[in-house]
C-alpha cells in the first residue's frame, strides 16, 4: 500500500504596515527601499502603482537607489514599493502621490492585493500588529488566573504539631521587657525560641539570658538562640532613610528566616520586626514556610498604632492590641485586655 501525499502550499502574504511605521529597507517583502518620504513616512503600499510611467515599479525589489532622487515629480512619485510584477494598480488620489509620506499615508486599498506568491522568506507573522498588545494582555490575564490556582493545588495541609519553634523579635528597652512578659506564661510546647536582636542593641541580651535562665529552672528542655541583624531604623530616623535601612536589614532577615523556618513569629513593635515579618511573609507566599505572624502592639499604644503596627496590621496573622480604643479603630485586631 503506497500512500502518496502531495501538498501544495500557497502562501499569500498580506502585509499591513500601520500608518507611520516605516518598514525595513531593501528587504524582500518590504515596501520601502529606501523610503523616499523620509524616515517618518510610511511606505506601503505603493500608491503610484507599478504601471506608472517611469516608476521604479519594474525594478527588482531590494534596493532601488534611483528612488532616492525621486523626490517628487511625476515619475518620482513616492513609489517605494517593492513591487512585484503583476501588482495591481492601487487606486490613488491625485494629490497623494506627491505628498510626503507622513502618517496615514496608506491609501484606501492598503494592501497589495492579488500578489502572486513570492519566493520570500517568511518574515512577518500574519497577525496584525494592532492585535499584538491585546494578545499579550490576554496571555497576562490568563497567567494571572493560573498562578493562584497552581498555588491552591499545591497547598500542603500544614499539620502543626508541637513543639513549635518561635522567632521572637527583641527591640530596645521596653519592647524587650514587654515581649519577655508575653513569653512568661508560654508552655514548653514553644521551643526552641530564637531571639532576633538589632546589632546595636546592648541591653536586650542580658535580659533575655536572665529570662531563659529562669525558664530553664522550670523546663529542662528549654532551648533558645540569639541572632543579630542590622537595626532597621534608629529612633528619630527619617522615613525615607528608614526604607533604605529596612531593605538592608532584609538582606539579613531573609536568609535568617529561611534558615530558622519558625512556626511562629512574635513581635511587639520595634523597627527590627518589619524586615523579619516581611521576610516570613515572603517565604509564605513562595510556599517555602508558612509562619504564623503574631504582632502584639506595645502597651504604650493606647490610641494610635506604631509605624511597625501600621505596616504589619496587613501582614500579620494575628494583630493584638491592649487598649479598647485601638480595637475600635482597627477592627481586625484582637483585644485581650492588658497582657503585659
Amino acid at each position: 500500500m503506497h500512500i502518496h501525499i502531495h501538498m501544495h502550499i500557497h502562501i499569500h502574504m498580506h502585509i499591513h504596515a500601520p500608518a507611520g511605521i516605516p518598514a525595513s529597507h531593501g528587504s524582500p517583502g518590504s515596501c520601502c527601499s529606501p523610503c523616499p518620504a523620509g524616515p517618518s513616512g510610511s511606505c506601503c503600499p505603493c500608491p503610484a502603482g507599478p504601471e506608472r510611467a517611469g516608476s521604479p515599479s519594474r525594478r527588482a525589489y531590494g534596493g532601488i537607489p534611483q528612488l532616492r532622487d525621486a523626490g517628487g515629480g511625476a515619475a518620482g512619485s513616492p513609489s517605494r514599493c517593492i513591487t512585484a510584477p503583476r501588482a495591481r494598480r492601487a487606486p490613488v488620489t491625485p494629490g497623494a502621490t506627491t505628498a510626503p509620506r507622513a502618517r496615514g499615508g496608506l491609501n484606501r486599498a492598503g494592501r497589495r492585493m492579488g500578489v502572486a506568491p513570492l519566493p520570500l522568506p517568511r518574515k512577518v507573522a500574519p497577525a496584525r500588529m494592532e492585535e499584538l498588545p491585546v494578545v499579550v494582555l490576554l496571555l497576562l490575564l490568563l497567567s494571572l488566573l493560573l498562578v493562584p490556582l497552581v498555588f491552591l493545588l499545591k497547598r500542603r495541609r500544614d499539620r502543626r504539631t508541637p513543639p513549635f519553634s518561635l522567632l521572637v523579635v527583641a527591640g530596645s528597652g521596653g519592647h524587650t521587657t514587654e515581649i519577655l512578659r508575653l513569653l512568661s506564661c508560654l508552655s514548653e510546647s514553644y521551643s526552641p525560641r530564637h531571639y532576633v536582636l538589632a546589632d546595636s542593641d546592648k541591653m536586650s541580651e542580658a535580659k533575655i539570658r536572665s529570662f531563659e535562665q529562669k525558664r530553664a529552672e522550670t523546663f529542662s528542655e528549654s532551648q533558645f538562640s540569639l541572632e543579630r541583624i542590622p537595626r532597621s531604623r534608629e529612633v528619630r530616623q527619617s522615613w525615607s532613610s528608614s526604607v533604605v535601612t529596612t531593605l538592608y536589614s532584609m538582606l539579613y532577615s531573609l536568609p535568617l528566616t529561611y534558615k530558622l523556618k519558625p512556626d511562629l513569629i512574635l513581635c511587639n513593635g520595634p523597627g527590627t520586626c518589619v524586615p523579619v515579618c516581611l521576610s516570613a511573609f515572603l517565604l509564605g507566599l513562595l510556599q517555602i514556610k508558612r509562619t504564623i505572624i503574631v504582632y502584639v502592639e506595645s502597651i504604650c499604644r493606647v490610641e494610635t498604632l506604631s509605624l511597625s503596627g501600621k505596616i504589619l496590621y496587613y501582614f500579620s496573622d494575628y494583630f493584638i492590641v491592649q487598649w479598647p480604643d485601638l480595637k475600635k479603630k482597627y477592627p481586625k485586631s484582637v483585644y485581650l485586655g492588658r497582657i503585659v
Partner: protein
Amino acid sequence: MKSVFVTVGTTSFEELIATARSPPALQALQSRGYQKLVLQVGRGSLPQPSRCSALAVEAFRFKDSLAEDLQSADLVISHAGAGSCLETLEKGKPLIVVINDKLMDNHQLELAKQLHRDGCVLYCDCSTLVETLQSMDLSALKPFPPGQPEKFASFLDKVLGLQ
C-alpha cells in the same frame, strides 16, 4: 532616708536629668522631706555626684536590673517608657511620668495620659515638673492592676490547637 529615683530607661533624656538636678526641683523635694536623689541617666551625660542643698545626689548610667533602686525609692520620676512605668507601678511606688516632647510623634504621651486617666500616675513635662513636685498629692494615686500574660498564652494555645 526618703529617696527619689529618676529613671530614663535605655534612652537619653538630658532635659529631665537637668531639671531634676536644678535648684528649684531640689528645693521642692527637700521641702517634701526627701533626702536623696538617685539619677539613672541612660545614654545621657553623667553628672558628678554632689551634695547640693542638703540632698545627696547620685548618678549612674545603667544596671542590669533597676529592681533594687525602684524598691528602695519612695518616689519615682520616670520617662514614659513602658518598661519603666510598668515596673514601677507593679512595685506599688508613686510615679510621676515625664513626657519627652522631642521624641518622634511623642507616642509616649498616650500611655502617660491613659495611666493618668486611670488615676495611677501623675504626669507632666520637663517645664512643669517642678510645679508638679510642689503640688503633688501622692496618696491620691490608685494601685495599678497587673497585666495578664496568661491570657496571651491561652490565646496562642488556641490558635495553635493546643487547647
